[in-house]
């Protein structure tokens, strides 16, 4: 199948535009997924602080369930259930919800890391509950969660190829399509791997710098 050596540059150039289109979808899914995850994660983290166990225990079960079952199976599950919804939207939503369960733990740690003195000061100033949360606790807590958010963004970026299972043509699926048509998998799959490295490594370096600055 590769008469002229193992690596064929013509094929590599041939497939590159498809892969870059896939990369755009991959990044899109990461950004939208991360927006959903960071908002829903905060909501979950706040709901977990509800005073009654009747809220906390069921929520804990649901969160653990989503966290401990494979993203791949969840994606296909929702894809098969909701036939009318476009696959890309399902991809965004499932990625977002799956990572929201991770993010809720990050927020929880961030909220718990706010010194108790801050709560006491807010009480002493007779601030209403809403203002205590939005003006005092959350700004400090969220600052601490930013590195976690960055880490999960990188990790979600690397999990977007799972979307191939629900027919979204992201980077991996684009490579797979090319391979299926031409019987050469070496070039597309290798380039996809390198593209992942090319985006995720600098981003994770950036996140590490952020960790040091915000720590």
């Amino acid at each position: 199948m590769n008469e002229d050596g193992i690596w064929n540059w013509d094929k590599a150039w041939d497939v590159l535009p498809d892969l870059l289109r896939g990369l755009v979808i991959t990044i899109e899914a990461t950004v939208v997924g991360m927006v959903i995850a960071s908002i829903l994660g905060l909501v979950i983290a706040l709901a977990m602080r509800a005073p009654t166990r009747w809220v906390r225990a069921p929520l804990r079960l649901v969160v653990d369930f989503i966290r401990m079952t494979p993203l791949l199976v969840q994606l296909v599950f929702v894809y098969l259930l909701l036939v009318d919804v476009p696959p890309l939207v399902i991809g965004f939503a499932v990625l977002g919800v799956h990572y929201a369960t991770y993010m809720s733990e990050v927020y929880r740690a961030g909220i718990e890391a706010v010194p108790p003195g801050q709560w006491e000061a807010a009480t002493a100033l007779n601030l209403p509950k809403g203002r205590t949360w939005f003006a005092i606790i959350l700004p400090q807590a969220i600052r601490k969660t930013l590195p976690g958010l960055g880490n999960y963004a990188v990790s979600m970026f690397k999990e977007t190829p799972f979307l191939f299972a629900i027919t979204v043509v992201e980077m991996y699926q684009a490579a797979q399509n090319y391979g299926a048509n031409t019987f050469s998998y070496i070039e597309p799959l290798t380039i996809v791997g390198l593209l992942f490295l090319l985006v995720s490594y600098p981003t994770s370096l950036l996140v590490r710098r952020m960790e040091i600055r915000l720590a």
Binding site: M1, D64, P70, L72, V73, P147, L197
Partner: protein
């Protein structure tokens, strides 16, 4: 619904084999990952650049490229170079290398968190390096790394669902077959997800038990309440824990 149950009962005998394949991948991958993690984790700590450099490159390479790409690369591309492996071996190697690279960071961070006084004391007692590590440093680092390794183990279990796409008959394959039989997505996938959840839960218990044992060996045992043993720890996300472990 009764048709669904009938189909489920008919399918039950093959569930054992499916769970076995998933467990083989998970545990095989975990063992390989641990070996990789120890080699790379210690390698990334050495002073000589000739060892540290390659270790770092390998870690960043496997952490930076996606698991999906790695597993399919090994399955489709590696055979053209003459390395043909069975699908199960492909899955174990891919999972082991990918999560091994993540675990290497955990190992490195935990070993760095052991107070330097421990190294100095071991040196003062004139222990040789292997002895020092095996008897003094590693037991302490081990207790620190288990919670993070537990998270990675669950991630590995979840990643193993990919093996369905390289022709393995694992739990996901079983779910898919059940869905074909019943045509009831909610029922079949619901059952399937619960199976994954139960496996993950049992693995988490196992890791909690290992952690308790490791702490007890250090004289820090807590004699946990039943609720701690059977409950899931509010897991510290792996990536965050890694950083805290590294910084501490």
């Amino acid at each position: 619904m009764s048709d669904d149950l009938q189909a489920l009962v008919d399918r039950l005998p093959s569930l054992g084999d499916a769970v076995l394949v998933t467990l083989e991948m998970t545990l095989g991958g975990a063992v390989l990952a641990m070996v990789v993690a120890l080699v790379l984790g210690f390698g990334a700590r050495t002073r000589t650049l000739w060892v540290r450099g390659p270790s770092r490159v390998v870690i960043e390479f496997f952490r930076g490229t996606s698991l999906v790409v790695q597993i399919f690369w090994i399955f489709y591309v590696l055979p053209t170079f003459g390395f043909k492996m069975e699908a199960l071996a492909v899955a174990i190697v891919a999972l082991g290398l990918n999560y091994g690279a993540y675990a290497a960071e955990v190992v490195r961070g935990s070993i760095e968190s052991v107070p330097t006084g421990q190294w100095e004391a071991a040196t003062a007692l004139n222990l040789a390096w292997p002895h020092k590590v095996r008897r003094v440093i590693f037991p302490q680092a081990w207790a620190l790394m288990i919670p993070q390794l537990a998270n990675l183990l669950i991630q590995l279990l979840k990643g193993s669902a990919l093996a369905f796409y390289i022709t393995l008959h694992d739990v996901y394959w079983w779910i898919d077959e059940l869905q074909r039989d019943t045509r009831d997505t909610f029922f079949s996938y619901g059952i399937g997800l619960v199976i994954y959840f139960v496996i993950a839960y049992i693995l988490t218990w196992g890791m909690n038990w290992l952690e308790e044992r490791a702490k007890r060996r250090l004289g820090r045992g807590t004699r946990p309440r039943l609720r701690d043993v059977f409950g899931l720890k509010p897991g510290v996300p792996t990536e965050i824990a890694r950083v805290q472990g590294g910084a501490a």
